[in-house]
Structures are given as C-alpha cells and as structure tokens.
C-alpha cells in the first residue's frame, strides 16, 4: 500500500524505473523487445508513408460492421500466433540444449516464455481467432445484417486488443509473470513473486475476460433474436450451433476467471488472505475457481472448431452433414458436461478418492458425445466426392490426430493414471494434441475456407498444401515424442535437466518445432502470393466451394448490409436448396432502405483507456489507473447520450449494388468441382444434383 511518505517519483511513475526499460539482462530478451518496438514503428511508418491513417481510422478501426471487426480479430490472432510460435521454438531449443549444461536462456526467462506462450495461445490467439470467425460468419449464416449489439461488439474487440497490447508491452517494459498460464498461488502471491510480472498477467487476462463475456452475450442474443424468417434453431448451420454453445460457455465460465484473478489481485494489492499460505488462506480454492473457468474454456476453444470441421467436411465431400441432430445434441451435451469435470485438472490435490472417481467418470463421459461427432464426420465423408484441397486436408489430419489426443485424454481421466503422469510432458502432449489439430487446424481451415468470402479472392492452393504438410508433420514430430518423455517422467516446464536419455526425444521435438515455424512462414507466404495473384484467384461472385449455407449466397466481399433483402429459409442447408430450385440468383420483387450503425471511435477510446488503467495498475501508477477507469466508464456514458446512431442506405443504392452483382453472375459460366482450384473459379458453382 502506498503511504504519503513516498517520494514524488512514486506518485508520478509508480514502481516504474529506468532499469525496467531495454536493454535487458539477456540478449534474447533485448532482441525480442526491439522486435516489438521496431515492428510497431514499421506499421506506423508504413501507414504514414502510404497516407492511409484516415482510411484506417474511418474504414476499419471505428467500424461497427461485424465483418470488419471479425477480420480485425483474426489479424490480432495471427500477430499473437507468430509471437507464441517463436516462443515455443525457443522453449524447445532450451529443453533440447539444456541437458547437463546451461541452455540458451536463463531459468527465469524460460519461465516467462512458458507463461506468455500459454497465456497468449489461449487468450490472445485462440480466443480472438474463434471470436473473429464467429463474428464474421455467424450473422451471415443466420441471414442477419449484423450482431444484436454492434457497439458492444467493437468494445469487446478493443478490450481484447488492449489485453494483447499489455502482453506486448510486458516484453518491452519490465518482466512478465513466471507463474504459468494458470498462475497458481502461493507462487504468484507477493511473497514469492514480487514485482510487476504477475500483475501484467492478471490485468491482461482480465481485459480479455471482460471482452469475451460481452462478446459471448452478444453472440447468444444474436442467435436467439436475429435469425432470418424460417431459420429455426434446428435449421441453423452446425457452426452456428457451436457458436451458440461456445457463447453460453463464455457467459457462464468467464465469471469464475474474473473471481479467481480478482481475489488474487486483492491478495497482492491489499494484503487479503484468499490464497496465501498463512492467515487462513486457501490455495486450493484458487485451483478450484481457476478450473471452474478453465475446463469450460477448453470447450470454448474446441466447439467452434467442431463447427468448422462440420462445414469443411460436408462442403468438400459434396454432401449434407450426416447426423445433424446428433451433432447438435452432442454439442449441447459437451457444453453442459464441461461444467462437471473441472476437478480432473487437480486430481492430485488431496481430496478423497470418491471425489476423484466422480469427476473422473464425468470426464470419461465427454468421450461419448465427442465420439459421436467423429463418427458423424466420417459418415459424412462416406460415399462423398471428396476434394482434397487444403482445408479438407487439415480436416483429415484433425480426424486422425484428434482421436489419438482423445484417447490419451480418456487415459488421463483415470485418476490413478493421472497420479502417475501428472505434470509431466505426457499432459503437455495430450492437450497440444487436442488444441493444435482440433482448435488451431480448425481455425486455419476456416481461414482458408472463408478467406475468399471476406476478400473476394481465393488463397493459393499450392502454398496452402505446403502449409498443411509442414503443420501436420511439424505437429506430429514435435508432440509425439512428448508422450514417451512424459512416461520417462520428464516434468513439464523443466528449464534444465541432467538426464541424457531425454536428448534424442527432445531433439526430435525440436525438429518438429522448426517445421511448425516453417508452417507459419508458409501461411504468410501463401497470403503474400495470393495477394499478388489476386486477379487470377478472384472469386467475387461469392460461392467458390459450392457452399451449403447463406454466407455463400452473397457477393464476396458482401456489402456492408450483407443481404439486399432478408433471406427466407425453408430447411437446412438453405443455399443448397435455393440453388437446387434455381432461385439462388433471382432479383427480389422490391428493395427497401436499410439502416446501419454509424461508425464510432468510442470503443477505441474505451480499449485505450482499458490499457492505460491496466498498465497503471500493473506499475502502481495510481493516477493512470484511475484516469483509465474513469475514461472507460466515461466512454460508456458518453455513448448513452449520443443520438442519431444509424445511417440509412437508400433502396436505390441497395438495388444498384445487388443488380450489378446479379448481372455479373449471369454473365459467367458456372464451374464444376474439378475446376475448383483453377483460375476459372470466379465464385459461381455448377450445381450438381
């Protein structure tokens, strides 16, 4: 607690000192910090040189269009993915090289690496990626013009971005937490982790958590209230079902994270005793609270990917999804069961065997609906005309690898086995085995599937396959060795070891990590090559893959209002039905004026204020923390006094845009699926009965 005897530097700069700025003690950290600074300067310089600030501000940063917000989320996810992959390679290098000798980084730096890697991958890569995807795709799929609350949507984006910015700031100013992504006390209490590290973690995660709560709420209301006529819940594409279940999990699981981090903050800032060793603190309650959030969280991450796999597999098998109802039921079952299993993250914490047995059984039960899904996807492929293009190749890798990961999960669900391999690399292998082929490959497949929708041109297929091969091989080579290493009792988060027999496995994993790094590079090359060849890859007519759902019934990119007239739906796979009836590209009887939300800079201000508040709290710069907090709420109140929040697009403009698109559609010959990846594919699919 501050006292009035502190000198003026404390009141002005808190705990911040010159020594917290670069250069850092070790070369790699200094290099990373300069990379962040130079990267930020490069972006600023590039935008300034091309004179694009006004455009960036008007068209993107202040936009309330769900599609642009979705794209910005995904850009953020790719930036953070790059950092976290580099950290992963560094960690693999450390473990492989630090056998019986010092490695490339210090133990303290290594601990920061695994903490930021985990925190970023969960909160600032996977969450923004899936949030961005749902943002972009879900309203289109249910035939809506936007989310229910466009302003709130932008606030969610900018709070998440503020959290990510705080993660980046921690690389430059001071140090990050060394307590792992789950931040277990008492290690993360003041007594063992003084300084700014844990506070950076607390506030970055809190910003992301608030953002996710409001975004989940927004998605759920949109799905409940904004479906187009005829779009009953059981006619929604499966991706929307998974989006709904993920949103419900966000709404109900995030409070547990908020409570866990808030109580930890009270301990650290005000000397409370929630999780301290003495004075009646209870460290076990932290694990309890954190995993009440943490387990639903992993389903928040995987369910949207399940939705993506359903779309990818049915689209590229040229079939309706097999077992739609069972997939919906399985999704809901997983969502509910995910609230009943959190204890399996701490089987070894000392509760009686009956508790472990109950939660172990509940955990195994989740294997059932997940198994149902795997069979449904396989049966969707049976007798389909499968097109092996990049997203589908990812889907096949997913099916094969995910089953292995699932089996190791069922093993870990047995408390007796868990006692043996708890906290070893076996566990690390298991959850990467779920999250990389499951979530990450799902996100990458979705990126390749929906990229042409968002930008009007397809991604380069050759580089897509190269990326797929590198990611798939890299994953297998990097993570399969971790299973035997875990069984050989190598503990996770080990900075240095003396056991030479680990070496061959660790070097194999290192090769895999490098392959993954090349896979990431291949994704950027793919993007670069595709942008350069965008004329040849153009598919502006909107339906490059012979899609099933309504997002493909619009031009690419869709106009800001999505649909010229609200679609009417009479069954599942609505766009397929329209194409079958030959009315997919028909001019409506009349067009009407559409009102759209005006852009506003207030969400950016709220996000910026959130960053200032969090940074002030981290460094005990109280005036900044207070100013940030007031500015955040001030932004909300300011907004509540604004009127004239919408602008109207006249019916004439809607009609002209729509007719222009229709005339281009009618001028082009549809392509069959065998020419899907050729330059002939302009986004008009030949309908195959």
């Amino acid at each position: 607690m501050p006292t009035f005897t502190q000198d003026w530097t404390y009141w002005l700069f808190g705990l911040l000192r010159w020594s917290d700025f670069p250069p850092k003690a070790d070369g790699i950290a200094t290099f990373a910090a300069s990379l962040v600074v130079l990267g930020a300067l490069a972006v600023v310089g590039l935008v300034t040189r091309s004179g694009r600030w006004r455009w960036l501000w008007r068209e993107w940063l202040t936009s309330l269009d769900h599609k642009k917000i979705g794209v910005m989320y995904i850009v953020l996810a790719f930036v953070m993915l790059s950092r976290a992959v580099i950290e992963a390679i560094l960690m693999r290098t450390q473990q492989a090289s630090a056998i019986g000798q010092a490695g490339v980084v210090s133990a303290d730096h290594f601990a920061q690496l695994f903490t930021t890697h985990g925190s970023i991958m969960i909160f600032f890569m996977a969450m923004p990626f899936l949030t961005g995807l749902i943002n972009y795709v879900m309203p289109l799929q249910i035939g809506a013009r936007d989310l229910s609350f466009p302003f709130l949507n932008a606030v969610g984006l900018w709070l998440t971005a503020a959290g990510a910015a705080l993660m980046m700031a921690s690389l430059v100013v001071g140090k990050f937490s060394t307590g792992g992504w789950s931040g277990y006390p008492p290690y993360t209490e003041l007594g063992f982790s003084p300084g700014e590290g844990v506070d950076y973690w607390i506030w970055a995660v809190s910003l992301s958590s608030i953002g996710s709560t409001v975004t989940g709420l927004n998605f759920a209301v949109t799905i409940y209230k904004k479906r187009c006529p005829g779009m009953d819940l059981l006619r929604m594409p499966l991706f929307c079902w998974t989006a709904l279940c993920t949103s419900i999990l966000m709404i109900f699981a995030m409070p547990a994270l908020t409570v866990a981090t808030a109580l930890l903050a009270l301990d650290r800032y005000l000397g409370f005793h929630f999780f301290t060793n003495g004075a009646g603190g209870d460290v076990m309650n932290y694990a309890n609270l954190f995993w009440i959030f943490g387990h639903p969280e992993v389903y928040i991450l995987i369910l949207p990917a399940f939705g993506v796999w359903s779309e990818v597999i049915s689209t590229f098998s040229g079939k309706h999804l097999y077992g739609y109802i069972s997939l919906v039921g399985a999704t809901m079952a997983i969502a509910v069961l995910s609230f009943t299993v959190w204890l399996h993250h701490f089987f070894t914490m000392g509760q009686e065997a009956n508790v472990n047995a109950a939660f172990g059984i509940a955990t195994m039960l989740i294997g059932i609906p997940t198994g149902v899904k795997v069979y449904d996807w396989i049966l969707t492929m049976v007798r389909g005309r499968i097109r092996f293009i990049a997203p589908m190749l990812f889907a096949i890798t997913f099916l094969l690898c995910f089953v292995i990961g699932g089996l190791s999960g069922v093993m870990l669900a047995d408390p007796a086995i868990d006692f043996a391999v708890h906290n070893t690399l076996f566990l690390v292998a298991h959850f990467h085995n779920m999250l990389i082929p499951g979530t990450l490959f799902g996100m990458l497949a979705a990126y390749m599937l929906w990229f042409p929708k968002a930008f009007g041109f397809r991604l380069d297929e050759i580089w897509g396959r190269i990326a797929w091969a590198l990611w798939s091989a890299g994953f297998l080579v990097a993570f399969m060795p971790l299973y035997p290493l875990g069984l050989m009792a190598m503990m996770r988060r080990t900075a240095q070891t003396t056991r030479a027999e680990y070496a061959p496995w660790l070097w194999t994993a290192e090769v895999g990590a490098v392959l993954i790094g090349l896979g990431l590079a291949a994704l950027f090359v793919q993007l670069w090559v595709s942008v350069r060849n965008r004329a040849r890859l153009a598919a502006p007519l909107g339906d490059p893959w012979d899609g099933h759902s309504l997002e493909w019934a619009t031009p690419s990119p869709p106009p800001e209002w999505n649909f010229a007239v609200p679609p009417e739906v009479s069954g599942r796979d609505a766009f397929t039905a329209l194409k079958a009836q030959g009315i997919a590209y028909r001019e409506p009887e009349r067009y009407e004026a559409i009102s759209l939300p005006r852009g506003t800079g207030i969400p950016v201000v709220i996000g910026g204020a959130g960053f200032v508040c969090a940074f002030g709290l981290t460094w005990h710069i109280w005036w900044a923390a207070l100013a940030g907090l007031f500015a955040m709420w001030g932004g909300v109140v300011w907004r509540s006094f604004q009127t004239d929040l919408e602008r109207t697009v006249e019916a004439g403009e809607v009609a002209a845009t729509h007719r222009h698109w229709l005339s281009r559609v009618h001028a082009v010959t549809p392509v069959g699926r065998d020419a899907e990846t050729s330059a002939d594919n302009r986004g008009l699919a030949e309908h195959e009965a």
């Binding site: 709404i251 409370f272 929630f274 009646g280 609270l289 509540s640």
Partner: protein
C-alpha cells in the same frame, strides 16, 4: 421448433399494451442485459461459495462469522433494500402508465435515497469492523467477508451512479425509447441485487449467527 411461447417478451415489467414499438425494440436489449445479469449471478455464487468455505476454514484465530456479523444492522439494511425494490417497481409502473414524469422521477429518487441509506449502513458496518481491528488483512475469513459484501456494495453504488445518469438523461432527452429501456434495465439490475442480498443475508448474517 421455435422457442417462443408465453406473453411476456422479457424479464421485468412488460410495456407492450402501452407502447408496442418500444416493447419490440426493448426485447433483444433486455434479453441481453438479462444474460449479463445471469453471468453476474454466477460471479456472486462463486464469491458465496468462497465465503462459505473460508467461514469454516479461514478463521485463523480471528473473529468468527458470529462475531463479525451484526444482525441488527443487517436487519435495517435488508429493510432499506426491500423497500427500495418496492419503490423501484412503482417507478416502473410510473414509466408504464403515467405520462407525467414527476411520479417516475419521484419514485426513482426515493429508491436512490433508500439505496444511499443502505450504502451508509454498510459503510458504517465496515468501519466498525476495521475499528475493532478486524480488517480484511487479518484472516481469510475476513477477506472473504469484506469481498462478498464489498462486491454487492460496489454493485449498489454502480446502480446509484447509473440512476444519476438516468436523471440527467430524463432531463436532457426526455422519456424517449432508449431512456425508457435503460430504466427498465436498471430496474432488473436493482431487483436482482435484492435477490443477491437475500442470499447474502441468509448465508452471512443468519447462518453466521447460528454458527
């Protein structure tokens, strides 16, 4: 299958008979706010679970729940809050039936005063605990006690700040549709804080004095 039956379109007082347009516009907004409140309820439930555990295992030689809870003061606070729920429901009725703003503003102001009274009583409780040397730093139990009550306290304070903003908005904008749905949401927030308080009184004060 379409999930829609029943005549009330959203929680809280429905105004469809009086103002169908506002009612349609209010539906998704109030549904969204209701979801937020449910999320908030989970937050309180977890704080209560933490409190329940710490009131058993976190005493650490400090005061017990029985010593820390002042039943008489809790009774006064409960009375104030229950009365404020009633006056807010009269505010809602004024929004629905009366065209004159005076009744609405009057009932809402009374609600605000009752809320302020509640905050004052609670602040006095906190001060008296700290005065006895029973600050939250003393034990896990006191940490949980202050945090659970303090979170509710902060919520009520936010409700009052919101109310203040609404007074300004009624003055500046009048009772337009947006202002009306905001008052309806504030009503939900206020009533739900009452629901939470019933849980807190039962767990902290009544159960505590039986321990």
């Amino acid at each position: 299958m379409r999930f829609a039956s029943g005549t009330d379109r959203h929680p809280g007082l429905n105004i469809h008979g009086r103002d169908p347009d506002a009612h349609r516009a209010a539906e998704p907004v109030i549904f969204g706010f209701w979801i937020f409140l449910m999320s908030d309820l989970v937050l309180f439930a977890l704080l209560m679970a933490t409190y329940a555990s710490m009131s058993l295992h976190g005493i650490a030689g400090g005061p017990t729940p029985r010593q820390a809870g002042d039943l008489a003061s809790a009774g006064v606070e409960t009375a104030l809050l229950l009365a404020s729920s009633f006056t807010f429901s009269l505010t809602s009725l004024a929004l629905k039936y009366r065209d004159d703003r005076r009744a609405l503003v009057g009932w809402m102001a009374l609600t605000g005063l009752l809320g302020l009274g509640f905050l004052g009583c609670e602040a006095k409780d906190f001060a008296s605990l700290i005065g006895k040397g029973w600050a939250p730093e003393l034990s896990g139990f006191l940490s949980a006690h202050f945090t659970l009550l303090g979170t509710h306290f902060l919520h009520v304070a936010c409700g009052l700040a919101w109310m203040a903003v609404m007074f300004v908005q009624i003055a500046v904008r009048g009772l337009d549709q947006a202002v009306a749905t905001r008052i309806m949401r504030l009503a939900l927030f206020w009533h739900l804080l009452d629901v939470v308080w019933i849980g807190i009184v039962t767990l902290v004060f009544l159960q505590g004095s039986l321990s």
